[in-house]
Subunit: 425 residues, 2 copies
């Protein structure tokens, strides 16, 4: 295909007229397709139904250490679930806290604790003039939203092919004591799909932040969410690297089974040093008597171990892979070589990150919406919702059916071409 | 029985020698009985086992409004669960938010939101010089612990027979803008067991606090937790009273099924005005994608409605009542008329509040512990753990078996007499 920018005005106008006709027809179809979020589809939900059978009124609900899963107690999760969740991310069970049905509340709790009580004896952030977080971009909108709500200033850091720009990060954290954290989605990143290289992980583990209460907020949401058997990214486990680097307390890692078992009823966990865990347990002991242990043991009995996770995730992949393949096939066929689009080809996770030409993303998303295809809001993948170049669009192919996805991507590529030509003319 | 204070020294010494012998024998038994918390016992847990059968892999898990309970979404609880929990406390479903497995996190969230973002546009508390809470005493230790952790100053308010001292409360909140809240357990109060009268509830609803972000934190934990069929306290519903009094936003009420279904895996809710709810939903939308909807529908299908709750709570009462009766029988037989003890005879809830002679509670609890009977720590029912008169002991009869309870109370009355006589001599 020819690069659009090399075409003459007449040629572009001719293509545009044709696209406008197609777009008009699409609008007449009154579509209603939602691609805003990385939600599992109905077939994926059905994979988790066995979860609802593994415990019932005849089950033995006493733990290996004698606790009754039905009663109050156990602040940091049952040992059986610690072991299971530890296997998801390759850490030791003793470093794990198992909580409720989402990892976001765990992250929010860490920020709130830092704001109000401070991190392990350091000044509470709410008493500081300024607190800043580094935000690799594009990134996860919910990280940015909670950081903004708490009044923490966000600094963009570009994501390169191997991970965030480490030169920039090393320099910033060493120089500025008000920088207290960095948000990372290190594996199959939201939305870029990249996985940080071993070298990047080691540089993270060796960071020398000026702020002693600086932590890496390592949202390892997609640790076992591979799409392919033959192409899998392997993330170096950072907790062990931090220990080796003499920085044992530097990282909080987060993970959950939301996209493994059932999104509304999974279990979330975090892993960090024993010393950090002790401080965290002390804080959460004031806000809860304990998380839902029955849902924890449900997960243990359904998945059993790492191998149980692996075989289950292969079933998810079998549902997700054709959708990613379809999106990439359509983008390839329709946009490859046009010079108006750049996009990622992830080996796992839930997103394809799409970069349009400058100043096009908002308009593409608006025009898709007008044709009944809802995409994640423009700018959502950036702090404060501001994508300065107005280029990035997060494509979330998981929730819609294959047939609908084909229709939606048909709209998307027509709109992308149309908007790009409007900009070029 | 004679009043101990009227006895002569010789008589007291004679009784004391006898008690010391009994106490020595009790210590030899190497007991290990835990009466620290209001935990349901094994038989009560078994009542909830049907909860684990009402949904399984063959269940229809689509809500009446079309949402899939298994997937992400629905911030404030499914409508079916709102309706069910509304029936627990006599409010409208539209005023209810249904959350996760405990009401403590909901209360903590409210305080955190007030600290960091402020209540509906008012200055965040973390930016104020001083924030104070009124604390009716004796009260619930966990309320006080979270308030203390957040640096909020606590002011004791005595609880009278009909509820907290309303004259004092009205005067304080009208005069001091730094008073931002009050903790209440209005029905079968923890630990006194009293229920606020209609008059007290109406005075609460009509409060005119100087601080516009003042809220009543109404922890209605025992709304359906009656012990008797023929003696039941009825708490006036405060939300409606606040509306009538022209103070619709004045109260947050909290409740949960922790002591109804299963303590580790219940659902919690709160009710407040629609305007308050909107502000709360906005905040929690940043920390969670939603609470566990499967556990919510599990409760709906198991209990069905108010009548379902009622018949279920009668089964709990049948287990709890003999324990309360036993405690009251032993206290009556051994201590009535001695003038060394005062205690409550609640119609519901989980506690009997026991007042020893001044400066005795700590020593009684210590000596019980030495004989293997663990009670809630002395002072726990007061802010900062300070019971100035050192009198109050919270008796929690629910968790131990009837046989163990008899033994434990045997130790308790012997120790109470012994310590009282030591003080009198």
């Amino acid at each position: 295909m020819s690069q659009y920018k090399d075409m003459g005005k007449e040629e572009l106008l001719e293509i545009k007229r044709n696209l406008e006709l197609q777009y008009k027809e699409m609008k007449c179809k009154k579509l209603s397709l939602d691609m805003t979020r990385g939600k599992p589809d109905l077939n994926q939900l059905n994979l988790g139904m066995g979860m609802l059978d593994v415990i019932n009124s005849t089950s033995d609900l006493i733990g290996e250490d004698g606790i009754d899963f039905r009663n109050y107690g156990i602040l940091d999760g049952i040992i059986e679930a610690k072991r299971l969740l530890a296997s998801m991310v390759g850490v030791k069970a003793e470093n794990v806290l198992v909580a409720g049905n989402g990892s976001l509340p765990l992250m929010y709790d860490r920020l709130v604790q830092a704001m109000l009580q401070g991190v392990r004896g350091h000044t509470p952030w709410c008493r500081l003039e300024k607190v800043k977080f580094l935000c690799p971009v594009p990134g996860y909108d919910r990280h940015f939203a909670m950081t903004e709500q708490l009044g923490i200033e966000m600094i963009n850091v570009p994501i390169l092919a191997d991970g965030p720009d480490m030169d920039m990060i090393e320099e910033l954290v060493a120089a500025d004591e008000s920088i207290k954290g960095i948000w990372c989605t290190p594996q199959y990143a939201n939305p870029t799909g990249i996985t940080y290289t071993d070298e990047v992980v080691r540089r993270f583990a060796a960071l020398q932040p000026k702020a002693k209460d600086f932590r890496i907020y390592w949202d390892n949401a997609y640790s076992i969410h591979h799409l392919y058997e033959d192409k899998q990214d392997n993330l170096l486990e950072i907790l062990a690297e931090c220990e080796k680097a003499g920085n044992p307390d530097l990282v909080y890692t987060f993970f959950s089974t939301s996209k493994v078992s059932l999104p509304g009823a999974g279990v979330a966990g975090m892993a960090t040093s024993i010393k950090n865990l002790e401080a965290i347990k002390k804080q959460i002991s004031l806000k809860t008597i304990g998380y839902d242990k029955l849902n924890q043991i449900r997960h243990v009995r359904f998945f059993k171990d790492e191998d149980g996770f692996k075989s289950h995730m292969r079933k998810h992949a079998a549902i997700l892979r054709p959708k990613f393949d379809l999106v990439l096939e359509i983008l390839g066929r329709e946009l490859e070589g046009t010079g108006i689009a750049d996009y990622t080809r992830p080996n796992g996770g839930y997103f394809i990150s799409f970069d349009a030409m400058e100043n096009c993303a908002k308009e593409i998303i608006k025009k898709c919406q007008e044709a009944g295809v809802t995409l994640t809001a423009a700018g959502a993948t950036f702090p404060y919702g501001v994508d300065a170049q107005d280029r990035n669009i997060r494509i979330a192919p998981s929730y819609v059916s294959l047939a609908d996805l084909q229709v939606a991507m048909g709209v998307f590529v027509v709109v992308t071409k149309l908007v790009s030509i409007e900009r070029l003319l």
